[in-house]
Symmetry: C2
DNA sequence: ACCCCAAAAATAATCGATTAGCGTTCCGGC
DNA sequence: GCCGGAACGCTAATCGATTATTTTTGGGGT
């Protein structure tokens, strides 16, 4: 029983050495990607047996994967109450944004202060990758998000604090989830691209911490605002819909539902 | 098959509604406490079957608990490689300390700015509980750490950012682990007690953010320094010991090893 | 009609047996 | 003696059956 790695969708910013050699981790990674990248709607109930059937693996494997995700906060759970994809809310997004700004500017400041030549190189590299990915429209789905994430992380990487970086990674991923949940994200890409360039110049070329932090904060804030606007516009669109407390049964997204095995 | 709650050691700052109704969570919580509170040495290998035997529960239950802890970072694991209590290091402690100072002062500043009457009340309450716990020497083990943690968290609680608070909680717990790992912690308690009072006065009574942050930073830094000093002194004590790569098999601490069931 | 309780159905949790993978040891070739 | 690889033992991973718990359903009773 081997797992074909090509079957597994690529996930960005994954645990460093985390190669996927067990069914449990495979399920975990796929589900994680599906939640983070918006293929699984918030609030969706995940029944262990259903997921197990979808993936063609045993209950235990799924259970463990779900348990991990719950610990991470991507799923919510209570004993004997099953698992459910974590909810999203405007308040959460706003808080997430503010916290990210606080921590990311802090880290950026340190990185600019401490960063050596190799840091500059890595950031430049990430920046160029981002630019080229943005130019070539064909760069598909997650690839695009990966280079974006890598650019942001490369910028702060030289801050010298593993704990700060770990925290930032988590926050960034969560924010990514909101971004990917919004279909109109691509619409605001235009401005964003320019901000990335400004950010790169201020941080690496000019080494102006104040300026770089300001750009970063603005960049983050604007993205969130655009997200919220889009979401409100969308909510206004579907007026008739009553506030149905119980959602209809939902199925896993294509990516997640794809069978795992090569049997 | 019921779980007797009195058998479960109290854990501080636990998931809000997280009552412990399943064997898995019971194992999870006990183990978590044992790691956080230093009953389980860093690097200890945790074999699923051994733990299962100790607790008299099945493999799966233990596996899931361990998986959760691994996701949290309290255990490290790789597929097919088992679980091991996360290592500790001087660098990690220093980084943890600095990050805590950064985030906790940020949160404290916001709390002082935003905190209302009920915040002041809660902090005062926590402070008084801390004082009385410190005076009565008989206040046993974890009770003492709980009131300490509660005081620190109460201070920043009014910052208004769940994400920041969640992050701080995690960092605080990790730092707590280092504190509890050090047997000589009680020695430095004297100074610390006074700092708590200063902190309380500056933050709540005077509402002087700068001053309060300074005290908090100093308090945190001093504690870490004392910890490191103690650890170095201890390391100097046992000179002969070669850097044994492989530790002898270790058993669970009393608390952790205690059977779970009332069978 | 509404509410409360009991039985039934659904599904979460637990279990121990089974299978697979890693690490080590032991053997033979160099 | 040293190296490489097959065989073994230990433990991690997986499985599906079993047990416990929650949720739903279906009747009374008010």
């Amino acid at each position: 029983m081997k797992i074909d790695p090509t079957e597994l969708p690529q996930l960005p910013m994954q645990t460093v050495g985390g190669s996927t050699k067990s069914l449990t981790s495979a399920v975990y990674h796929i589900l994680r990607g599906s939640i983070l990248y918006g293929h699984l709607e918030p609030e969706t109930k995940l029944t262990v047996s259903h997921v197990a059937t979808q993936f063609r693996v045993s209950l235990s494997a799924v259970r463990e994967a779900l348990a991990r995700l719950a610990t991470e906060g991507l799923l919510v759970t209570a004993d004997h109450r099953g698992f459910r994809v974590a909810a999203v809310s405007k308040e959460d997004l706003l808080d997430l944004t503010q916290t990210r700004i606080d921590l990311e500017t802090l880290a950026l400041r340190r990185a600019i202060e401490k960063g050596d030549k190799s840091w500059e190189d890595r950031v430049r590299e990430a920046f160029e990758a981002l630019q080229s990915a943005e130019r070539t429209a064909r760069s598909l789905g997650q690839r695009r998000y990966m280079v974006h994430a890598e650019f942001h992380m490369a910028l702060v990487e030289a801050c010298g604090s593993p704990w700060l970086l770990r925290t930032l990674t988590m926050l960034f991923e969560r924010a990514e989830r909101y971004r990917l949940l919004s279909v109109t994200y691509s619409k605001i890409r235009g401005e964003v691209e320019h901000e990335h360039e400004e950010l790169y110049k201020a941080a690496v070329l000019e080494r102006d911490a104040d300026k770089a932090c300001e750009i970063l904060a603005k960049h983050t804030r604007l993205t969130t605002e655009a997200l919220l606007e889009a979401s409100e516009r969308r909510a206004a669109g579907r007026t008739a819909k009553p506030p149905s407390v119980r959602k209809p049964p939902q199925r896993l997204a294509k990516t997640a539902a794809r069978s795992l095995r090569t049997r």
